[in-house]
Symmetry: none
Subunit: 395 residues, 2 copies
């Protein structure tokens, strides 16, 4: 089955905004066994949109579009779909009522222009959107000489598009497939080593033609190893992935901190919760990123009793150490984590991580001479990783 | 002048890698006065590549491609260009010698397959590549009935592609333009109103054919109005933009909080600094995002004396109000900003913003029933915006 993706908007064609939706949709389509040959990005121009839709419909069995479903004059997706399919636009009363309710639930009246979002090409079905006013559009377009093309139009807002894909589009695509081939991924998250060093530790595991394939990506000092296997079903994929995962874990040991979407803060908070221990945090080196991540992962403050952010802490190990002991006592927490800037007289910029616990303080000074864009992220991750190692008793 | 961009590679069409080259090229082409109507991303498939090249050549005066210039069998750009232009591939001895030197300088012998990188469509010129083995390809394709199309093929490695654009492609495009147009943008940032309501306030300003054009985009509750003007030079663009900017500012008033990359925290901190006032913050509703943004923008704590993050604050106005007064006194700050969760018994989820100042507390309870993915962002922005209004004396 052949698929294409169309992303719509001047903000994309002019380069004003980076399009991440297309990549997201492309990997989901690929995982669903659809062969994606083209992506097209098109400006807010009716003629160009109709041409793009017509070309995609003629080439692909499944076309997924993102963007152009808003209530404004330059949202042309509905109109372009209708023109490419050669049908008129019609008002869907049910969708109109839903849009009005959505505004009412926010205590607002629906602006007249949002009525546009209830217009659909004749024969199309709305795709429910729980998180916004714009319903998606699903329709089947007949093609002389070949089977029909299934067209799915989704909004450009990722928070709306992604659940609509998962709840509506993916199931619909799966029913279209004769004998679906399953593709599964397994991601292992690593921290505490550079990419090239990690590659040297496992050269044959990341060979290009390997099956299952192991991909390596780095984002802000966190390394993700992605194992990809294909098989008849989920169980076959899992069976193919398991030995490779074991080999990676044996090779990398404690460098692997988590799986899939886990981040260091999730692992640390889970460990603290299982130990029944509480934490107090003082961040003087990551612009509050350390505190933000912990608060996100512990929204009701069950583990993290208190968090303070202030750069107004003396540099160096002694200041961090005494700050950690003071913080632990003041807040009555089992552990206190302090992230501070390192001594100023070191050859490279560094951070200090101090962890105060019953009867002692664990102290580390770590060089942080990387690109300024990732220094704050890396500092916060260094602090979480030191806490993780402490909790694992990994030295 | 019309332009298109083609990005080539299975790693892009399958979603394995995020394409950032296209956005980079799109914004450079736009700023060079080229109207970009389409981007196309195509898999490593000869037929699909030739079709993509042919379609782009027929539609655009300038086509820039990225990727597919490597030495392997699935690098198809040179072959596709030749096929689309209807000319054979020929070996360029000079380029071959350069590639051999490049390997020699690294103490290696050139693998035979790299010979491919010295093959060019008949009539094409190599584009020098200081940072890799793959030279780019520049050629002019005649089109019956219209002027020639200029084709520029660049490698997919950003560190190679970008200098090649700057050193070779941009100058070539500038010479192609009869009277080279300069394009400039001006961005105004707004907060505190929904997208469609803001559009209703200024329908003729965002008309599609307007000159200068005003684009509107929303990101996590912040609305960006982007004025785009083209003219003979920078001064002409500025002159064209000024009256539109004035009109927008008069129409939207205090809804406009900043310009270009400014965020609410920058505006608030600048206002506090100019008043010589200090701030203490307590965040119980944005997972520390409020505190993180302020710390990023005030890295040495010159304005923000202290920041605490804890969800452990009672809901509602009374708790927030007394917390703000206490915080202001404890920290000896001129202003205290408290962001808390709203009363639980309201019809919709809401946040409370309390600002304690000399002799009073400013209190607002604001509904926050939007998607969970942006609730934290919106809450933090609501707090900053209330503080901004207080500092502006805007009520």
């Amino acid at each position: 089955m052949r698929g294409e993706i169309i992303a719509i908007g001047d903000e994309l064609t002019t380069g004003q905004r980076l399009d991440t939706n297309t990549q997201w949709l492309a990997s989901r389509l690929t995982d669903a066994g659809v062969h994606v040959l083209y992506h097209t990005t098109v400006a807010d121009d009716l003629r160009a949109n109709v041409d793009a839709f017509s070309a995609a419909i003629s080439r692909a069995d499944v076309v997924v579009t993102t963007g152009g479903l808003g209530p404004t004059a330059d949202d042309l997706t509905r109109e372009s779909m209708a023109a490419a399919a050669g049908v008129p636009l019609e008002l869907d009363e049910v969708s109109l009522a839903k849009i009005q309710e959505m505004f009412a639930s926010r205590g607002r009246e629906m602006p007249e222009r949002n009525r546009l979002q209830a217009m659909f090409p004749a024969g199309a079905r709305p795709i429910g959107n729980e998180h916004g006013t714009a319903p998606g559009v699903a329709m089947s377009v007949d093609r002389p000489g070949q089977g029909p093309c299934s067209l799915f139009a989704l909004p450009g807002v990722p928070a709306e598009m992604k659940p609509m894909w998962t709840d509506s589009v993916l199931p619909a695509i799966q029913t279209l497939q004769p004998a679906p081939r399953t593709i599964r991924h397994r991601r292992l998250k690593c921290f505490g080593v550079g990419e090239s060093h990690l590659e040297q530790m496992m050269p044959e595991l990341i060979a290009r033609q390997r099956e299952p394939l192991v991909g390596i990506t780095v984002h802000k000092a966190t390394i993700t190893l992605r194992i990809t296997a294909s098989g008849a079903d989920e169980a076959a994929c899992r069976a193919a992935i398991a030995p490779t995962e074991d080999e990676i874990r044996q090779t990398l040991g404690a460098l692997v901190f988590g799986e899939e979407d886990e981040e260091l803060q999730h692992v640390v908070l889970r460990a603290l919760a299982s130990l029944g221990q509480t934490l107090a945090v003082w961040d003087a080196a990551s612009d509050g990123l350390l505190v933000h991540w912990l608060a996100q992962a512990d929204p009701n403050g069950e583990v993290v009793l208190s968090s303070e952010v202030t750069p107004r802490l003396q540099r160096g190990e002694r200041a961090a150490s005494s700050a950690a002991e003071r913080l632990r006592a003041d807040r009555g927490a089992d552990l206190a984590l302090v992230l501070a800037r390192g001594e100023i007289d070191l050859p490279v910029e560094s951070v200090v991580v101090a962890i105060a616990y019953e009867g002692g303080v664990r102290l580390r000074q770590i060089p942080n001479a990387v690109h300024p864009d990732i220094n704050a992220d890396r500092s916060a991750k260094l602090a979480l990783n030191e806490l993780r190692k402490r909790l694992m008793g990994a030295e």
